[in-house]
């Protein structure tokens, strides 16, 4: 009776098939496309983490870039300055942004609607302003270039200077994160988030601590946005204060809206579609943002529930 019941029968083989295809792809495409696929996967993770806070909990955060950028530095700085491993760095890229999300969220979830949007932008701006001026730590707008040491899994070592190995690392982490989020949004906790999105007052009146659950959603989303940033910096071997800028959050907003907010598949499709579109248009238009902006506006006006909404509408 709950909306997702019975979909497992379709989901498990579908997810397996997609994962298998993605795992096989590096044997058929060249290094350029392997890098491109890695990048898409990173933004997929960023988009689905944003979707948890926006699509499922109903809070429009334009501040996710702060956690994305922090995630990048949470890998780069320990690896470069403390000599820690990449694996430790990636763990930190979840923990450090989640900690900051707890702090930012503590204040932000006191506000709602447009005030929430604005306060998240301001927090991200503080982050990017400090990131740019503390060049001794962050490298400023030039950023930090670092070599990502290999990760030792005991049975094998993952050489992160190798593009294909990096692709597999990112694929595995993003796939696991997707499964984690999917289970969460179908879980009792996910039902609480959705209830808050649909009607905050009603949720409160039936006994849900709305502010606490908003904060929880914000922290989880922040941690996963951070992980996306960490993976991004590992794949580029580079972290920069420009990733902290609030407008970077726009990527997640666009992918999620275009694909369909409040579904996990939507942001995945949105990221894949928009990034491919940008990739193919850039050669003869040099105007990717124009197309992205136009697609965003027209989806909002004509198909506010995104690609997923269009697909479900047809099935009805």
């Amino acid at each position: 009776m709950l909306a997702d019941r019975g979909k497992g029968a379709v989901f498990v083989p579908a997810f397996g098939a997609v994962a298998a295809v993605l795992a096989a792809l590096p044997f058929f495409v060249d290094l350029f496309y392997q890098t491109f696929l890695t990048e898409i996967l990173v933004w997929v993770l960023f988009a689905i983490s944003f979707d948890l806070i926006f699509g499922y909990t109903g809070l429009l955060s334009f501040g996710q870039a702060l956690f994305f950028g922090l995630g990048g530095y949470a890998v780069a700085i320990p690896v470069l300055k403390l000599g820690l491993g990449t694996g430790t760095g990636l763990l930190l890229s979840v923990a450090v942004p989640a900690l900051f999300a707890a702090l930012v969220g503590y204040f932000s979830v006191k506000l709602s609607g447009i005030h929430f949007v604005i306060i998240t932008i301001i927090f991200a701006l503080i982050g990017s302003t400090l990131g740019e001026s503390w060049a001794w730590l962050t490298g400023g707008a030039d950023g930090l270039v670092f070599p990502a040491p290999p990760i030792d899994f005991g049975l094998f070592r993952l050489d992160l200077m190798d593009i294909r190995s990096t692709y597999y690392l990112v694929l595995a982490v993003v796939a696991l994160s997707y499964l984690f989020l999917r289970r969460m949004v179908q879980s009792p906790l996910g039902k609480v988030f959705v209830a808050i999105r649909e009607n905050e007052e009603r949720a409160r009146l039936i006994g849900y601590d709305v502010r606490f659950h908003k904060l929880l959603s914000f922290v989880i989303a922040g941690g996963l946005s951070g992980l996306a940033g960490g993976l991004y910096s590992v794949s580029l071997k580079y972290a920069s204060a420009t990733f902290l800028h609030w407008s970077v959050s726009g990527h997640a907003v666009v992918y999620t809206i275009v694909g369909g907010a409040g579904t996990l598949l939507g942001p995945v499709l949105g990221a894949g579609l928009i990034m491919s579109l940008e990739h193919y248009l850039v050669d003869f238009l040099q105007a990717t943002d124009l197309v992205v902006g136009a697609v965003l506006v027209f989806m909002l006006l004509l198909a506010p529930r995104g690609i997923m909404g269009l697909a479900q509408g047809r099935r009805k």
Binding site: I121, F123, V292
Partner: protein, 283 residues
Amino acid sequence: MASNLAVAVMNGIVWGLILALIALGLNMIFGLLHIINMAHGALYMLGAVAAWYFIELTGNYWLALGTAPLVVGGVGLALERGLLRTIEDKPLVTIICTFGIMLALQQLVLMQFGGTARRIALPISFRFPLFDLQYPAMRIAIAAISAAVMAGLWVFLNKTRYGLWMRGVVQDREMAVALGIPVHKVYMWTFVLGSFLAAFSGVLAAPIVSVDFMMGREILIMAFIIVIVGGMGNLWGSVVTAVMISLIQGVGSIFVVPSTATVFSLGFMILVLLVRPQGLFGE
């Protein structure tokens, strides 16, 4: 030192009056349509860019100041009628939508205008002595024009029928509908007026700052700060806050690095949002 301080104060006032115009447009659109217009900075930039083209064509800054804002007002008209009209009752959707418009406008300008910053020559090159420094008279003219436009706006809002309608809609939308005020027309002209003001300040700022496709990005945030600290829907609060913040930043940057000043003003804004969300001058 005294002359540095005098220049900082002068610059603070001039820049504050420009910011006030931008914030007034943003605040009018918010107060009336309840839209957080993320494209407002892009409209400011568009005004400056349009002015640059007009000056290339005619060589006359004053002609550009008269025409470029009208063109951008037309762009505002098209945006409101074509896109925003259907989603005006959904604040979050309009934020995302105007964000998309911002991306598109910036990119359009990048394609046509290029990525390099360009300068507009001062139309008044006369300078007058200020302590032991020379201060450009153009800046005084800019401040005077800003103030004049604001005075005109005050007269428009308080003395004309359209202005009274606008204030009526802000106070009580349902009552306004009941009284037969054409609310949707008021929305439309408010958005056009807001766009016009953004562009007008863009043209005014153009000789002081350099013109490029990203120039609206930081301004948008400044305008947000001013509108929130001064109080959303409180136009007078925006003007006072704009001059105040600009003065504090201008004078403050003599003593601290600009980024510190920025972080402090952002922190102050968070404090206002949390403690006095109606703004410092709200009720």
